[in-house]
C-alpha cells in the first residue's frame, strides 16, 4: 500500500534532452500540483525551473504536463490526479523546452499573430460606442470563445500541432473566430485568408483534445468548425 504521507514526484529535468528525476515530498491537505513543484524548488532542489504567476487560475502561466495530460498546475489538486500517490511532471508538449518545466511560448504567440488575432478597427472613428446586442448571433458566438487566456494547454494537447508544425493550433484559430464574429472588426478579408488551408482550420481533424483539456471549458473545435464554414463560403464567393 502506498505511503499516504509521501508524494512521489518524477520531474523532467533538462531541456529538449533530459531525464525524469524522482523526488519524495510530504503530502498536504488540499495540495495542488503547483504546491508540489514549489515545495521541490524551495526545499529540495532550488535549481528547478518552472513558471507561475497568479496561483489562482487567472494567468495560465503554470501549465504543465501532469501524468501525461496538459493542465494548469495551480488549479489541479494532487488528490485528483495522483490516485496512486505518484505524479509525473513534464513541460507542455509541442513547444521547445527552455529548462525543466518551462517552455518557449514564442511560436505559440507568433501563431496568434499569424492568424490575424489582433482587432482591426474600421477606418473612421465612430461617433458613439458600437451597439452589439448581447443576444445577437455574432455576439453569442464570440462570447462562447472569448474567455481564452492563452495558456497553451490546447496547443499542447493537439495531435495536429504535433504532426504539422505549421498548423496554427486551437488557440490562435479560436481567437480568430472571436474576431470573425466581432461586428466592429474590419480585418476579416485578411483573417480568413490567414486561417484557411493546410496550416489553418482545414487541417483540424476534430479530435477535440483541445475541448477536453481546456481549463476554461472552451470548445476551440467548434470555433475551428465555424472558421471552416466561413472560409469555405469566402472561397466559393472568390474572396479568399
Amino acid at each position: 500500500m502506498a505511503n499516504e504521507a509521501i508524494l512521489f514526484v518524477s520531474v523532467w529535468r533538462g531541456a529538449e534532452r533530459g531525464r525524469f528525476v524522482d523526488y519524495e515530498i510530504p503530502r498536504g491537505g488540499h495540495q495542488t500540483v503547483l504546491d508540489a513543484v514549489t515545495h521541490i524548488q524551495r526545499h529540495v532542489d532550488p535549481t528547478l525551473a518552472y513558471r507561475f504567476a497568479c496561483r489562482v487560475g487567472m494567468c495560465g502561466s503554470c501549465a504543465m504536463t501532469v501524468n501525461g495530460v496538459p493542465r494548469w498546475t495551480c488549479r489541479t489538486r494532487v488528490d485528483k490526479v495522483a490516485k496512486d500517490g505518484r505524479l509525473e511532471l513534464a513541460p507542455l508538449k509541442n513547444l521547445p523546452v527552455i529548462k525543466d518545466l518551462t517552455v518557449d511560448m514564442e511560436s505559440f504567440f507568433n501563431k496568434v499573430r499569424r492568424a490575424e488575432g489582433a482587432f482591426v478597427p474600421a477606418g473612421d472613428t465612430p461617433g458613439d460606442f458600437a451597439a452589439v446586442p448581447p443576444a445577437s448571433r455574432p455576439r453569442t458566438l464570440a462570447d462562447a470563445a472569448i474567455e481564452c487566456i492563452g495558456c497553451g494547454v490546447c496547443y499542447s494537447a493537439c495531435d495536429v500541432v504535433a504532426w504539422n508544425r505549421d498548423y496554427l493550433g486551437p488557440a490562435a484559430l479560436n481567437r480568430a473566430w472571436t474576431l470573425v464574429n466581432d461586428v466592429r472588426d474590419a480585418g476579416n478579408a485578411a483573417r480568413l485568408r490567414a486561417v484557411a488551408g493546410d496550416a489553418g482550420c482545414h487541417a483540424c481533424h476534430t479530435h477535440q483534445s483541445c475541448r477536453t483539456w481546456c481549463p476554461k471549458s472552451l470548445n476551440p473545435t467548434a470555433s475551428i468548425a465555424g472558421l471552416k464554414r466561413a472560409t469555405a463560403r469566402a472561397a466559393m464567393r472568390g474572396r479568399l
Binding site: 504532426w163 484557411a196 488551408g197 471552416k228 469555405a232 472561397a235
Partner: protein, 114 residues
C-alpha cells in the same frame, strides 16, 4: 499549392463524402438485397449490361471516390512525411488516376459485358 486551392480541396472532400454516403448506402443495400434474393453473379451481370441507370450511378460513385480518397491520402502523407510535401500532392494525383482508370474499366466492362 495556394491557400484557396487547399480550401477547395477541403470543400471537394466534404462534398464527395456526402455523395459517397448516399452511393455506398445504395450499393450495399442493393448487394444485400440481390444476394438475399438468390441472384447469381451471372444474373447480376446480365442486369447491369446495357443499363444506363446503373452506368450513371456507378460513374458518380467512382468520380466521388476519385475525388475523396486522394485528398485524404494527401493529408495523411503530408502529416506523416512533413519534409516531403510535394510527395503527398503527387501521390494524391496518382491515386486519383488509378481510381478513375480502375473504376471506369470495371463499370464499362459490366455495362458492355456480353
Amino acid at each position: 499549392m495556394s491557400v484557396p486551392a487547399q480550401t477547395w480541396l477541403w470543400i471537394a472532400q466534404r462534398a464527395s463524402a456526402a455523395v459517397l454516403a448516399l452511393a455506398v448506402s445504395v450499393h450495399l443495400v442493393t448487394v444485400i438485397y440481390a444476394v438475399r434474393g438468390g441472384l447469381t453473379a451471372a444474373d447480376i451481370i446480365a442486369r447491369l449490361q446495357g443499363n444506363v441507370a446503373w452506368l450513371g450511378f456507378y460513374s458518380v460513385f467512382v468520380l466521388a471516390a476519385a475525388v475523396h480518397a486522394p485528398i485524404g491520402v494527401r493529408t495523411i502523407l503530408a502529416e506523416s512525411l512533413p519534409r516531403a510535401p510535394r510527395l503527398a500532392d503527387a501521390a494524391g494525383g496518382v491515386l486519383m488516376i488509378v481510381i478513375l482508370a480502375g473504376g471506369f474499366r470495371a463499370i464499362l466492362g459490366l455495362y458492355g459485358a456480353g
